[in-house]
Symmetry: C2
Subunit: 201 residues, 2 copies
Amino acid sequence: MPDVLDRRTRRKLATHRALAHAARQLVMERGLADVTTEEIADAAGVSPRTFFNYFSCKEEAIVGVDPSVLTALAEEVEARPADESPVRAISAVLVAVNDLPDTASRWMVRTELMRRHPELVPRHMAGLVQLEAALTGAVARRLGVDPNVDPFPALVVATAVAALRSTMEWWHDNGRPTPLTDALGGAFETLDAGMAQRPTT
Amino acid sequence: MPDVLDRRTRRKLATHRALAHAARQLVMERGLADVTTEEIADAAGVSPRTFFNYFSCKEEAIVGVDPSVLTALAEEVEARPADESPVRAISAVLVAVNDLPDTASRWMVRTELMRRHPELVPRHMAGLVQLEAALTGAVARRLGVDPNVDPFPALVVATAVAALRSTMEWWHDNGRPTPLTDALGGAFETLDAGMAQRPTT
DNA sequence: ACGCGAAATTGCAGTCTCCGCAACTTTGCG
DNA sequence: CGCAAAGTTGCGGAGACTGCAATTTCGCGT
């Protein structure tokens, strides 16, 4: 795992981010339909053709997830104490990450974008599927099982990510009442302890 | 709820299904990239333009969910005994539905299509989001709460649908080992009882 | 410092998606 | 029968996306 990258790859990452940033920026300002891939490329200082060397479509540039974030999260989950239950490990990482105001605001931008432009929902969900894949690998390694054979890692992760999404959306739509950390913590707690714990209010 | 529809709407539904069916058929035979919306329209006996009166894009015709299925499922969930926990109510309905060989095979076709053509994943997930919306309404009514204020209905449903998806994919990828019903039942049971019930192995 | 080869960017041409609009056809209904 | 609403269709066009081949950039060994 080389932490230092040569100039070439650094440039590549920079362009990737520049494009993604320009895409979000422009769509926030002018709306999804009124932004073309060409304009995004322009704003990032590359040719229109190059845009498609980085993203397979406009939506991916807007709500796609940064691959480096995926691997980072997976590593953090794997590094949690071995005696933690899978849900708690995931919970710890995701709650911690949403405590960084920077990351938290990114998530909020995503959610906001999605609410304003429902056409982004499909690609947004695809991003979460990628997140699931990364976390499933990490959880499987923690448990020492093969994720292709044992359905448990994928099940835990899928439900945990669903809880994350559900909570973020609720929090967003309700004007961010409580600290996000609390809301997330509660949701994961419920998941770990079982949905049956609350049969009626 | 008029169970009898006039000819106009019946025709509309028929066209909708004809297009969806043709889309799946053709993509199964020739692959996603080698099928155009024009060909799908042709196969369904309507003009190319009409295709877009029914679907917003090619992918939606292929893996989109039939709205009537959504309302049907929601009604069934709402009709389950009031003392059942939300997860059990959803579980009962989804397990029962997957016992009808017809419905089960439809689901499998969806999953198969998705595995063969990852480009379909985003839209497939969007379909599940619609399912969630429908079920969330039903669960909220069962519990007598406002789903926009109380995060619980959305949380239960999101995790339950995630469990459904995760299980179906596992079952599909592993050559359908056990009866699907059993696999689904187990997953929902785990969800209801809490993920912590299986900390290791 | 030089230059070779790999990697990345770019332009171009073309296909297909998708949408607004306006004309036309069908259908329910009085 | 005839009108109004609903649905279909064709047309034109903007823009998404791709394969290909030319060109530029950059890492690296000598």
